[in-house]
């Protein structure tokens, strides 16, 4: 079965519909599926719910879909760098469900692993615990969190082979593997598609079973906080 597509728009063809739930990889602007987000903007799909650690910045990442008001709800742990996000949230145009970062990552991993719920100490005694089942194990209180299953996952990797085996680079791995796992369908954009057999099977970060479509493209890879030290 062919997994490789020519463009991000072609890779998403037939997968998008208004009101859908999308899980996206990336942390800040690092390792985000920037080409697939642009293709969703171009497709004009509306009322989207995104599970994504961040919402990008105003003009990059999920931020570009906030500008066009294509997003109805965000499930995120941190939204601090996005003014338009803040404006839409405070004016009530956008729903926001805060999840602790590790809880969000585990919800994705669990959802993709056939685990509908799990117990965690994270958030006990805070707003996050309100309305959730509490249960004691070995004298400690935990809350139940649900696994996430998304209609679609969009992720960014460094290299893929044509079967969808993925390798990530440095901290650009972040949420991409758990996000990929929790989608009913997963589309991955990569910097390079290499011939079958040229990736070391021992070094695959995410096996191709989780990846249904692949597209290769040029990535801007914007840096959010360029920080350097002086040469001594």
């Amino acid at each position: 079965m062919k997994k490789v597509y020519g463009t991000a728009s072609e890779a998403l063809d037939g997968l998008l519909h208004d009101g859908m739930f999308i899980a996206a990889g990336g942390f800040g602007l690092c390792g985000i599926p920037e080409l697939l987000l642009q293709a969703i903007k171009d497709a004009g799909t509306k009322n989207l719910t995104f599970a994504s650690n961040n919402a990008g910045v105003d003009d990059f990442g999920i931020g570009i879909l906030l500008q066009t008001k294509q997003v109805k709800k965000m499930i995120s742990s941190y939204v601090g760098e996005n003014k338009e996000f803040m404006r839409q949230y405070l004016s009530g145009e956008l729903e926001l469900e805060f999840n602790p970062q590790g809880t969000l990552a585990e919800r994705m991993r669990a959802g993709g692993s056939g685990i509908p719920g799990f117990y965690t100490k994270t958030g006990v005694g805070t707003q996050i615990a309100e309305g959730k089942e509490h249960k004691d194990f070995d004298g400690e209180t935990y809350i139940m969190e649900r696994g996430i299953i998304a209609d679609l996952s969009i992720v960014k990797a460094w290299k893929a082979d044509d079967t969808g085996n993925l390798i990530f680079r440095k901290t650009a791995r972040n949420f991409n593997p758990p996000a990929a796992m929790c989608g009913k369908v997963c589309v991955a954009e990569v910097e390079e598609i290499v011939p079958r057999g040229s990736l070391d099977p021992d070094q695959i970060h995410l096996p191709g079973i989780y990846v249904h479509r692949i597209v290769q493209g040029e990535h801007e890879k914007r840096i959010e906080q360029r920080t350097v030290r002086e040469k001594a």
């Binding site: 941190y78 590790g102 990552a105 006990v124 440095k170 972040n174 350097v228």
Partner: protein, 207 residues
């Protein structure tokens, strides 16, 4: 003289023991890395890295290599990378010995508030709730009072909590306080600061 930011970071670094895996938060906690000295401390960045190195030299920045504050950083010979689920697995699983974090408020029972001010500041908790629930020891580094001169060490936090009963040690510009089940204990005063000065600047019970 109260401690400045660097002196607070230097004092916090004394809490770290050779061989520890540690997570440093944004702000003053980041400066702790400058005072580790000869100890082998492995810094975790919760976006998926153990063995965080210093900022890169100009021209060597890599968009694929950032810390949890989204700053460009470098790797070390012992660095490893992993995904966010594993990263928080090691946090939640108690593998990280200590987290050093900033705070808006801390209560005398060790409750911590550092993620939002309702109606004013909505940034999110990021990984802070997971860290305080999971790591071995939570060390808060913050100014003793806010910009209005009011105590940040309170009987009860007024802001939404990040964690309940999670703080072990508080390092402020005035000194070092330990959280006990009865209240706060003064362990150390900054140079020229007296216990009386700390009591006067603190709303929380000091026992």
């Amino acid at each position: 003289m109260p401690w400045d930011r660097n002196q607070m970071a230097e004092r916090a670094a004394q809490e770290l023991k050779d061989g520890m895996y540690v997570n440093l938060g944004i702000g003053i906690p980041t400066l702790v890395a400058n005072y580790i000295g000869d100890k082998e401390i492995t810094l975790q960045s919760e976006n998926g890295m153990l063995g965080m190195g210093p900022f890169p030299f100009e021209g060597e920045e890599d968009a694929d290599l950032i810390n949890a504050g989204k700053q460009t950083i470098t790797e070390l010979a012992r660095t490893s990378y992993f995904d966010s689920a594993m990263s928080f697995g090691m946090i939640r699983g108690g593998k990280i010995a200590a987290a050093i974090l900033g705070a808006m408020e801390v209560s005398e029972k060790g409750d911590l508030a550092n993620w939002m001010i309702p109606g004013k500041l909505v940034k999110g908790m990021g990984g802070a709730m997971d860290l305080v629930a999971g790591v071995g020891r939570v060390i808060v580094v913050m100014d003793h009072t806010n910009k209005h001169g009011e105590s940040k060490l309170l009987k009860e936090c007024t802001l939404p909590l990040t964690g309940k009963g999670v703080v072990d040690l508080i390092i402020t510009d005035l000194g070092v306080l330990e959280v006990d089940h009865k209240g706060l204990h003064i362990l150390e005063c900054a140079d020229g600061v007296t216990e009386q000065d700390i009591r006067a600047a603190t709303e929380a019970s000091i026992v």
